[in-house]
Point group: C2
Chain length 126, copies 2
DNA sequence: CCGTATCCTCCATGATACTG
DNA sequence: CAGTATCATGGAGGATACGG
C-alpha cells in the first residue's frame, strides 16, 4: 500500500495521491511519542503537564509538537479552559480511539514476545 | 505499560526491567521503516535489493540498519546463499508475522480514516 | 550483490527565555 | 500552566568508497 510508486498514468492520480497521503500519515504516526500519547489518553483525558509527567523523557517541545500533529490529524481534541492559569485538556477523538486499538495490540504483542526478543537479542549479540 | 516509572521497591525489579525493555522495543519498532519492511516481507521473502527497490526513499544504510535491528529482535530471518555474487534473503519469523498483524491493522486504519484526516488537516490549517 | 566504514551535512531535538 | 520562539548541537542519516 504505502510503497506504491508513481506510474504516471492519469487514472492513477487519485490512488497515487491516496497512497502518498497514506504514506505520509504512516510516517508521522508510526513514532514512539505519538503511540505513547495515544496509549495514555486512552485511559482518560489528561492535561498537558500530566502528559509531560507521565511520559518519561519527553521534552516540552516534543510533547507540544506531537500533540499539534495529532490534533491536526483529528486524533486528539484540545480543550482550553480560560482560567488563570490556563487549563488545557487533551482527549482522544473517535479516530484516535480507533488507532488506540492498534497501539494497544502492539503493547500486547510486545509483552507476548518479550522473552523471545530478549533471547534473540542475546543470541545475536554473541 | 511503557510509561511506568521506577518506584524503587525491590519487588518491582522484574516488572520495572520488563517495562524498560518493553519501552525500548516499542521505541525501536514504532518506526516507519521497520513497519514498511514488515509490511513487505509479509507477502513474501525478499532480497536486500528487492526491498531497497520497493521501499521508495530508503537509503542503503537505513535499510541495513533496520534489517539488523529486526534480525536482532528475532522478527526477521536472514539467509545468505554463498554464491557469487552473494544472494541474501529476508523473511519474517513467527514473531515478525505476529507483529505484521498489528502493522496490517494500522494500514487498514490509515485507509479507513484517510478522508477524516484530510478534512481535519484542512480545517486545522485554516 | 551485499555489508561495513568513513566522512560530512543538516535537521530534529533539547535548553532556555519570554508572553498571555 | 501552556504556548511559541530562538539558539546551539549532537547525532541521525546520506553519499561515497572499498572489501568479501
Amino acid at each position: 500500500m504505502v510503497t506504491k510508486q508513481y506510474s504516471g498514468a492519469p487514472e492513477d492520480a487519485d490512488l497515487t495521491r491516496a497512497d502518498s497521503l497514506a504514506r505520509e500519515i504512516f510516517s508521522d504516526i508510526a513514532n514512539k511519542w505519538a503511540f505513547l500519547i495515544i496509549e495514555l489518553l486512552a485511559d482518560r483525558t489528561l492535561r498537558f503537564s500530566e502528559l509531560r509527567n507521565e511520559i518519561e523523557g519527553i521534552s516540552h517541545k516534543m510533547l507540544t509538537q506531537n500533540l499539534r500533529m495529532l490534533e491536526r490529524y483529528g486524533l486528539v481534541e484540545r480543550t482550553v479552559y480560560p482560567t488563570v492559569p490556563p487549563r488545557v485538556e487533551y482527549t482522544l477523538t473517535a479516530a484516535g480511539q480507533a488507532l488506540h486499538e492498534i497501539v494497544s495490540g502492539m503493547c500486547d504483542w510486545t509483552h507476548r514476545y518479550l522473552a523471545h526478543i530478549e533471547t534473540s537479542r542475546q543470541a545475536f549479540d554473541a
